[in-house]
């Protein structure tokens, strides 16, 4: 009897190893809508774009295999380097400034103050506004004729600037606007992280005689480093993929001086790619840009993961 039972158990164990049991199958079935979507719209399109990147493809006609042509052309294209530099420059300004500001805001709004919900909401408002709306608001500040920024400069006796058309200013100004628009989102992520820190830690620190700054630097920052890591990665990816803002503010029309800024000063990789694909019918070339962009992002993210051991604490 006992022998039989163990035999059966062994049998079912073998069965389990061979395939999924009924529960597993149902599980698979229930996620199948997602799986189908994933296979068709994520894996499928990625494979297709990889193939296109090795071909001459004008969208209207079937692609012609050209091997590494697109990549060779890309590495010789001065506009590609210009776009790459603009993107990197944007990221260098954007990620540290926004991460730090979001953390400060989160700490400030993590206090037990009156009207807290209102302030949190105010900082979140730009996040949910569309870029077109933001563009109008930004114009009120940075318009060279009627903008607030130039009015302020002239009060100080300084020369007015062509903020969004000047090669020097365009990226810093775009970064400033981008930070303003999305800092609230990162603030919320930080707030969630902050609320996970037990108040015991602060009490212990107080007993040890730490002041507010020390508490922030020695308790909050290390305790929240996991969240900071997430925020840095998200911001980097966002920065490399920024398209809508640049398109709306400096790239939409094909009129002189407004396509990717003066002397292509705000031509970022995504805008460069979009233009090749949808304005110039060069889908193969655009796909090559997409893959290079992907590889760069992958490399940066891997480096960040490697570096996290040095500063991220999980406990």
């Amino acid at each position: 009897m006992l022998e039989l039972q163990t035999k059966q158990q062994a049998k079912s164990a073998v069965k389990k190893r061979k395939g999924l049991d009924s529960e597993g199958r149902w599980g698979l079935l229930l996620v199948s809508p997602y799986l189908i979507h994933f296979l068709v719209f994520v894996v499928g399109t990625s494979v297709a774009s990889l193939y296109f990147s090795f071909s001459d493809y004008d969208i209207l006609n079937p692609p012609k295999w050209t091997g590494l042509d697109n990549y060779a052309k890309l590495f010789e294209d001065p506009l590609f380097y210009r776009a790459l530099w603009n993107t990197v420059y944007f990221t260098i300004l954007y990620v540290p400034a926004k991460t730090f500001l979001a953390l400060l805001l989160a700490v400030a709004l993590n206090q037990k103050l009156k009207g807290l919900k209102f302030f949190r909401m105010v900082h979140f408002l730009p996040v949910i506004s569309s870029w077109t709306v933001i563009a109008y608001v930004a114009d009120a500040v940075f318009n060279q004729r009627i903008g607030f920024a130039n009015a302020f400069l002239s009060k100080l006796g300084l020369a007015p600037q062509n903020w969004l058309i000047d090669e020097f200013w365009v990226i810093p100004v775009l970064v400033l606007i981008a930070i303003w628009k999305s800092v609230g989102y990162m603030m919320i992520i930080f707030l969630a992280g902050l609320q996970g820190i037990s108040s015991d830690m602060y009490e212990a620190a107080s007993i040890d005689g730490a002041n507010a700054w020390q508490k922030f630097w020695r308790v909050t920052v290390p305790m929240i480093s996991g969240t900071t890591f997430l925020v840095v990665i998200l911001n980097t990816i966002y920065s490399f993929q920024n398209f809508e803002q640049i398109f709306v503010m400096t790239g939409g029309s094909t009129e002189a001086g407004s396509t990717g800024g003066a002397n292509n000063a705000s031509l970022v990789l995504m805008l460069f790619m979009f233009r090749q694909a949808f304005s110039f019918f060069k889908m193969g070339y655009a796909s090559a840009i997409a893959w290079v962009l992907f590889l760069i992002l992958l490399a940066i993210t891997l480096i960040q993961f490697k570096l996290q051991k040095k500063w991220v604490h999980y406990d």
Binding site: S32, D56, I59, L60, L164, T259, F280, F281
Partner: protein, 443 residues
């Protein structure tokens, strides 16, 4: 038993997914008896959409065997959608194409060569702009749907205030500049002729130009130069005529008679400068009359000024009906019926004229009181029709957007004083030739 049920559920889901996916790509042809369903595309805004629907309803009444299904979206979205539809093989059988895009689709093999139909069934004498969609080999790719032609728009109020006589048909580009001097005012109301004129605080400019159809292209042409040769495969930027024209423009920018790209940017959109009354003259196309009337501007139009040798040029864009190369035979037939209806029916032409979006393609309607109506602005609408005598396309070819990008980018640099005329000419010549070679050498 359980297993069977599981499999059947899985099968059902698979089937549903397959249906869903195939439903996206294949278009079920719903043909009953002899009825043809014609799939038509056009770009639209709310007023043009409404008008087009009315015209379609009238067409369906008089052509009961044809049922029209439409695809429409605002301009940019429309072309993105159309391009992907062509790639997927489910594009409309017939669509209305922007005049600058016809050759882009034609030379990439997306639209039908309709030379036979045009030469046999369309009367050139009755139609405006038929020649503008003929390529250098004499093939016709589309039939005009509405004509856009450029003219010199001027703000009457600003002219009156400055005491400058209105532009006439005899004006040269130098006359225009001389008038601009008097029409350019600084913050203190001093004009550009005044020694105390402050270039740094210009409040009103004499003349504005930008982009392709409203821009430098027209001035180069009037000076005897241009951008591409007649085969549209070679850059002719490097010429003494072009140099003269470019110098004329740069001089106006430097004296602040014309706003440079940065000045224009301050108006939110290039069009707003003239619309807001901060610019006295602008090259624009007929379609602009709608927004100018909307802004309540007191304006009129004059023919484009002449070059130094009396040569004149105005841009024309013939927005056209084109037929999908992959359309089935009976749909091509139906599409041709639609085009014939559009170009010959007074009713359709008048309806379309009412939206004020384009000059009617049918000559009799264009010359009628209905279009020329002096009660609506601009009073001098006849200018547009007379202009057709000397107008030409803005060298539209398969890589039009790409070379225009090089051209306008370099012009912006020139106008912002980043480099001089000579450098502009060499740089632009090489840049444009590279774009052209990249496409045409591959063919």
């Amino acid at each position: 038993m359980k297993k069977k049920r599981f499999l059947s559920v899985l099968g059902l889901i698979g089937l549903a997914a397959a249906l869903l996916i195939s439903g996206c790509s294949s278009q079920s042809s719903t043909q009953q008896g002899d009825k043809v369903e014609l799939y038509m595309g056009y770009s639209s805004d709310p007023p043009t959409k409404k008008k087009m629907e009315e015209i379609i309803a009238k067409f369906e009444q008089s052509h009961p065997h044809i049922k029209i299904k439409t695809m429409t979206a605002p301009y940019d979205d429309f072309y993105q959608k159309l391009t992907t539809q062509i790639a997927a093989g489910n594009a409309p059988d017939l669509w209305q194409s922007d005049g600058t895009k016809v050759f882009g689709y034609a030379q990439r093999g997306a639209i039908l060569d309709i030379t036979d139909y045009v030469t046999k069934e369309i009367s050139k004498d009755e139609l405006n702009g038929l020649e503008f969609n003929k390529d250098s080999e004499g093939k016709y790719w589309g039939v005009p749907q509405g004509i856009q032609v450029g003219a010199l728009f001027y703000n009457k109020d600003l002219f009156d205030k400055a005491g400058v006589p209105y532009p006439t048909a005899d004006w040269t580009w130098d006359d225009l500049k001389a008038a601009s001097v008097k029409l350019t005012l600084d913050a203190n109301g001093k004009n550009a002729d005044d020694p105390a004129f402050d270039k740094k605080s210009v409040k009103q400019y004499g003349f504005a130009f930008f982009g392709s159809s409203r821009g430098a292209f027209n001035i180069l042409k009037a000076y005897g130069g241009g951008v591409l040769d007649p085969t549209l495969t070679k850059s002719i930027i490097n010429s003494p005529e072009n140099k003269k024209a470019v110098e004329w423009m740069v001089d106006g920018m430097q004296r602040k008679l014309f706003p440079n790209p940065a000045d224009l940017k301050a108006f939110q959109s290039n069009f707003k400068a003239f619309l807001s009354g901060a610019v006295a003259m602008q090259i624009d196309i007929y379609a602009a009359t709608t927004s100018m009337n909307g802004a309540g501007l007191n304006y009129d139009v004059a023919p484009m000024p002449k070059g130094p040798d009396g040569k004149r040029f105005a841009p024309v864009i013939a927005n056209s009906w084109v037929i999908n190369k992959k359309a089935e035979e009976e749909k091509v037939k139906a599409a041709k019926e639609w085009i014939t209806y559009w170009t010959t029916s007074d009713e359709a032409q008048k309806e379309w004229t009412e939206v004020g979006e384009a000059i009617p393609v049918k000559k009799s309607v264009a010359n009628s009181e209905m279009f020329l109506n002096p009660a609506t602005k601009p009073e001098n609408k006849k200018v547009f029709l007379d202009t057709l005598e000397f107008a030409g396309t803005i060298d539209t070819n398969a890589v039009f957007t790409e070379w225009v990008k090089v051209f306008t980018d370099n012009l912006a640099e020139l106008f912002m004083d980043k480099y001089g005329t000579d450098e502009f000419i060499t740089k632009t010549d090489q840049g444009i030739q590279k774009v052209l070679d990249d496409f045409f050498k591959k063919q």
